[in-house]
């Protein structure tokens, strides 16, 4: 057992209101620079839809992630031989057209235009060339456009859904959508790290944050191909790749990442998971149907004395173990089993988990009127508008059973709370669903509490980074006084 600690996250999709505040917070903090205009380390996409960059989930196009190869895994579109022989031109790299050409508007013109017969206008101009252009796409071009031919129907998660089922999904009275906020998953088996020829990308041992050393990056761009979530972006100006840094300067000082701090829907949770690094390879290389279970088994119970002992032996700080015990992520993912990783079939063992959206009301057209009534209080989970198969393709490598159980658990919590607060439901309608998923009242209340009422410190449990001790381990603090800190000693300027 090789126990390590990982900062992991849960996003509760039922709570996301699609406001994009998270994206803007991130943009304003990290990527409002030349060359980074098109980067959205945090983005929120509408599902069903094609996402950002266009159709990123389609690995036939982008060749991201890992393939199973015997008892191990192999990068699909990069790796030692493929990578080193395609450095001169990377055949599967996402390029500008897959994202969008960043643009701004000539606002000054509104003030500076000479007097004339017409109102001056602010023309859109490219942020790369500075020339006038007509924007044809953008990071949220399909925002809320679920159901559209151009976007929703090109979603790549309809595998296993018959044409008739797909058609039904897009009938007006059944149409549905939810948002999917995405950041880097800080994976346990990161494809970006494995693909980087320079060894510039690394995982931090203490908290699992995946970072790119900007000095070592040589623009070989293999990471852009390898990350199946397309969360490594190439800065066309500096000639370096960049990615979400999980706001590590904030984490190290006990603050939560900017996207989480600003989240209006309060959908985000962050905390420590302890895991067994010896199991990474076998968990990543198992058969499709076991992927989810094997990933869950990697994460260890931080209350188990054996685990605590082994963690201590491995140098994990007591403060980190305590944080792991209080971790809201551990509760959602392991204790309650209601949060799932996005696309486990990419085999990177992502550490961002989603509570899938519960879309209970089922509408239908009867006597030419739009009916939303259902036989039971909230309608049956199996009949939810979004086909179970679709959610399964997103969150469980196609396993519908898993999704069904999670949704039933979420439904049981709702019924229980309705019963507690209003008490207008027939007894069987509450107890049967709870028994079916083996949930007691205490658990239901706890899920409800963490979902709806929890304050900042319950939603975010950050382990102390102990940078002070770390510094003392590597440097003599007296000698380097005033020398260490965050930032570049040379300006991040494009080379010759």
């Amino acid at each position: 057992m090789d126990i390590r600690s990982q900062i992991a996250m849960v996003f509760h999709l039922d709570k996301c209101i699609g406001c994009h505040t998270c994206s803007i917070a991130c943009k304003n903090t990290w990527t409002n620079r030349k060359g980074a205009e098109y980067m959205w380390w945090n983005n929120v996409e509408t599902k069903p839809g094609t996402g950002y960059p266009h159709k990123w989930e389609d690995q036939n196009i982008y060749k991201g992630g890992w393939d199973k190869k015997g008892n191990s895994v192999r990068l699909k579109g990069a790796g030692k031989f493929k990578g080193l022989s395609t450095l001169f031109h990377n055949p599967n790299m996402a390029v500008l057209e897959d994202y969008y050409e960043p643009f701004t508007y000539r606002y000054e013109h509104l003030f500076e235009a000479k007097a004339g017969d017409d109102q001056p206008t602010a023309r859109p101009v490219s942020m790369i060339t500075g020339e006038p252009m007509t924007p044809k796409s953008g990071p949220n071009w399909d925002d809320d456009l679920s159901g559209s031919k151009e976007y929703a129907r090109k979603d790549v998660n309809f595998k296993g859904l018959s044409d008739a089922e797909q058609e039904a999904m897009f009938r007006l009275e059944r149409m549905t959508m939810h948002w999917l906020p995405r950041i880097c998953n800080h994976c346990l088996n990161p494809a970006c790290v494995a693909a980087c020829p320079s060894g510039a990308i690394y995982k931090r041992g203490e908290d699992g944050v995946v970072l790119i050393n900007q000095k070592k990056c040589r623009a070989w761009r293999m990471c852009v191909t390898a990350c199946p979530y397309k969360k490594v972006y190439y800065n066309w100006s500096t000639g370096k790749s960049e990615k979400c840094i999980l706001c590590y300067p904030r984490l190290e000082t006990g603050q939560i990442p900017a996207c989480m701090h600003t989240c209006v829907g309060r959908i985000r949770y962050l905390g420590v998971l302890l895991y067994d690094a010896d199991k990474i390879e076998s968990a990543a290389a198992c058969d499709d149907q076991d992927l989810l279970q094997n990933q869950m088994d990697i994460y260890l119970n931080p209350h188990d004395p054996e685990v605590i002992k082994a963690a201590r032996k491995n140098g994990i700080a007591d403060s980190t173990i305590t944080s792991a015990q209080k971790s809201p992520v551990y509760k959602f993912v392991k204790e309650w089993g209601v949060a799932l990783p996005l696309h486990p079939e990419f085999r990177t063992l992502p550490n961002l988990f989603y509570v899938p959206p519960l879309l209970p009301t089922m509408a239908f057209v009867e006597n030419e009127s739009y009916e939303t009534t259902s036989e039971s209080f909230w309608g049956a989970v199996e009949k939810s508008r979004l086909p179970m198969k679709y959610l399964a393709n997103l969150f469980s490598a196609g396993n519908e059973k898993v999704i069904e159980i999670v949704l039933k658990k979420l439904m049981a919590v709702r019924l229980h709370r309705r019963n507690e607060t209003v008490g207008d439901l027939p007894a069987g309608e509450v107890t049967d669903p709870m028994n079916e998923v083996k949930m007691d009242k205490e658990t239901a209340d706890a899920i409800f509490r963490l979902t709806s009422l929890a304050m900042h410190d319950e939603r975010f449990v950050i382990p102390p980074a102990h940078r002070e001790e770390a510094i003392e381990m590597i440097e003599n603090t007296a000698k380097v006084e005033g020398n260490t800190g965050f930032g570049f000693r040379e300006p991040p300027k494009r080379g010759l």
């Binding site: 031109h89 041992g205 623009a219 001790e469 381990m473």
Partner: protein, 240 residues
């Protein structure tokens, strides 16, 4: 006089600049060391330009290296006319590939506005030097045959003499003009390495071949963290 400048002064200047310059740039301005890929902005034409250019130039580079290091073996190989022909035609082919690739790359840079935004003055210098280098090389191959045989009596002694710090330029001064230009531009190219994007081939990622797929860096040695006795010893932990 100018022969002294071009065949003694320039080579040594280039060698000093490349050694001191690359070290200086790598250590002080490491952030700028990058292949400066422009594939993100334009991918299709890069494919047709970059692939032939690089494969061509890399084979030519290793060809020249072998010829310089093992002249006797190359001469032996060339003693059979068919083998000489194969060698010359292959080299010429790689030269053409490099030239065609370079032309495509230059056109791509000229006509694409986005690529022009990321073109520096030094990139222009790079293109000019490379063009001169490749064209003179091809010219020699066509009109002063067979270079792979005559170089052994002219260029190898000269290069040896340069590297042994005992320059002897007698043989090169009698070479035709195009061969002289080829030599001069080669040393110019070497001297330009630290001032241009040429830096990128010096940082070719060989170590990737034997690196493990997961790369974890510990800020401190995780097994030592509790051992306070080590707190002030000032020994830097290795991150591997």
């Amino acid at each position: 006089m100018s022969d002294y400048f071009f065949f003694i002064g320039l080579p040594y200047a280039a060698l000093v600049v490349v050694i001191v310059g690359t070290l200086f740039r790598y250590l002080n301005f490491g952030f700028g060391v990058s292949s400066l890929s422009s594939q993100f902005l334009e991918s299709r034409e890069l494919y047709y330009g970059s692939r032939p250019f690089h494969w061509g130039i890399i084979f030519l580079f290793f060809g020249h290296l072998v010829a310089f290091l093992f002249p006797a073996e190359v001469l032996l190989w060339n003693s059979v006319p068919v083998r000489l022909l194969i060698l010359e035609i292959a080299a010429f082919g790689f030269g053409i590939a490099a030239l065609v690739g370079l032309v495509i790359l230059v056109i791509r840079r000229l006509k694409n506005k986005r690529i022009r935004v990321v073109t520096s003055k030094m990139d222009v210098v790079v293109y000019v030097v490379l063009a001169v280098q490749i064209i003179t090389g091809l010219w020699i191959a066509l009109f002063f045959r067979w270079g792979s045989s005559w170089f052994a009596s002219t260029l190898t002694p000269y290069m040896r003499s340069i590297f042994l710090f005992n320059p002897d330029i007698a043989a090169v001064t009698n070479l035709p003009l195009f061969a002289k230009i080829h030599i001069v531009s080669a040393f110019t190219l070497i001297g330009l390495i630290p001032c241009t994007r040429f830096m990128h081939f010096l940082v070719y990622p060989f170590r990737y071949l034997w690196r493990s797929p997961l790369y974890v860096i510990w800020n401190w040695d995780r097994k030592q963290i509790r051992a306070t006795r080590n707190l002030y010893n000032g020994v830097k932990q290795k991150n591997t």
